[in-house]
Symmetry: C2
Subunit: 326 residues, 2 copies
């Protein structure tokens, strides 16, 4: 690919559409985002996405026609072979929308569609904390828990395209009820949408001194309150946080034996806790991994933050383009 | 590849070395095996392996020089990039043995080395019960629990080459102690080397009527006694067996969300139980998998039996050969 080539990455979320322009090395040359306005329906959103493509190119002196192509990360489930969003919890009214072809037609450049968490994983491997390990797992810890897997430099999508739903690995048989219908999922132990209500319930009944105080002050709790209270020694917060870190560590042991990755990255909003997350996860992992071989993955924090999805989508387009697939 | 081409597959075990000659479609044209005589050391075993290659060719009128190449399945851990057996629990004295290059040199044909369970998985995908699903997991249930993963038609080896050690996924946090140093591994719930001693302990103390009778008769129990006693309603055997099937089902849920395979196969000695294994595993799986999407894998019995490793090793050689890797 000639030097100076540009690839466009898009990350479609329920609230914002993010665009990045990257070069062939994955350096981010420009970022821009629009609100999604998801409530106005798919056609409106697709129009906004194509306008964003034109806007970011224009602002940065790039001829749209000269783009190598476009990678689109999107929430799923997707039909990746046909480039279709089957449906989405965060995009009301999106059913069987051929997003890839719509963007290709409107922008006039070839495109690929992939799952947003998978895109983020590829981005972290390509130019983030994964440092081109090519055998990498990303766990995204936020409102929910998701993730993605890169194996031999390729993203793992699976037969149905839903690979990397790591939040729904069962960690505690017959454990907490998860919204997905299962019991004991990683998500139900490590996602803020489960931890915050549990902390609020405790605070409401006066358990957890620091949490109870914060709850009285603000009438509610946020995830940061839990990590901060845990750091300050609040017993309820510590117990919840330790259980979360233990569940994450067990998931990492299981991923170690299944995929044998070089690196496991922790990303998503909760990973902003930094060392407060990393240290207990590493300790639980060290205590629980086997002694048979020295094939433990390094556990690190992800580094691309909210850009990971758009950058990774662009990188995945480039990867397929270089192999002649698109 | 010209019709009539032959590929040789080898499966190196602690007791036997198995060889198969296959054609480009994976049809097995001949099988032959030697005892390993592992106690006589690596050089002796490698000589036996190369003699077996010559013998199976000669018996079947195949010119060794006309072989496309040789795939070698072996217990690990391996250095797959360099074709080396790092060490092996079942092959005393094997440390850093360059098996691939030794076989290449002695037989005079190109070879590849891969993990035996991975080879079996590839074999099942290629010409066994996997029916070229290309997104497949094999769980081998025997003395221990192992397995392998095929993703997008490629075997998953991982960064360290130990991917597919599915018996050491943690199913029950802080559960049974496993020989690997972890607690709650699938293996410690579903392998005969754990189930038989537990059944014998119960039988010795008079629990489990049928088990106790068999134990009194034979002075010991075998895995088949447990499945048979469970089938006949023995309470102790039923409880052990149900716990094993539950653990297998939870592992399958976790593999579903990580890899999204089309098919999960159950192989190894314990899978000889057939429907007695398949039905409860499917029931536990149906009860425990999510309701969010219809991406449940089919759960089936493997079909190649003891040939899977040798056939899969040959198939993997062919796969790499067709891609110009060897």
């Amino acid at each position: 690919m000639p030097p100076g080539s540009r690839i466009l990455g898009l990350d479609l979320g329920g609230t914002n559409i993010k665009a990045v322009l990257v070069d062939e090395h994955g350096d981010v040359l420009a970022k821009q985002s629009y609100t999604t306005e998801a409530q106005q329906g798919p056609q409106h959103v697709i129009t906004r996405m194509s306008k964003l493509c034109e806007a970011i190119c224009q602002t940065n002196g790039v001829n749209v026609a000269s783009l190598v192509g476009i990678g689109i990360g999107s929430p799923g489930p997707l039909d990746i072979r046909r480039g279709i969003i089957i449906k989405s919890a965060n995009l009301p009214g999106w059913e069987n929308i051929p997003l890839r072809d719509e963007i290709q037609r409107r922008v006039g450049r070839p495109a690929v569609l992939l799952n947003d968490a998978t895109a983020a994983t590829y981005g972290e491997d390509w130019v983030g904390a994964g440092q081109r390990a090519e055998h990498l797992v990303l766990l995204t810890l936020g409102t929910g828990v998701g993730g993605g897997i890169v194996c031999n430099g390729e993203i793992v999508q699976g037969y149905y395209g839903n690979a990397g739903e790591l939040g729904h690995m069962i960690i505690v048989p017959d454990g907490r009820h998860c919204r997905c219908g299962q019991q004991g999922c990683l998500e139900s132990y490590a996602a803020s949408s489960y931890l915050v209500p549990l902390a609020e319930e405790a605070a409401r009944s006066g358990r957890g001194e620091i949490l109870a105080t914060l709850f009285r002050q603000n009438g509610r709790l946020e995830m940061e309150d839990i990590t901060r209270a845990a750091g300050a020694g609040d017993r309820v917060a510590l117990a919840l946080w330790d259980e979360a870190c233990r569940a994450i560590a067990i998931a990492i042991v299981n991923l170690q034996h299944a995929f044998n990755p070089k690196i496991v990255l922790l990303g998503g909003g909760i990973s902003a806790a930094g060392e407060i997350l990393l240290q207990p996860v590493r300790q639980h992992f060290e205590k629980r991994t086997w002694r048979m071989m020295n094939d433990q993955p390094e556990i690190r924090l992800a580094s691309l933050g909210n850009d990971a999805g758009a950058v990774g989508a662009a990188g995945w387009f480039l990867h397929l383009h270089e192999r002649g697939v698109v």
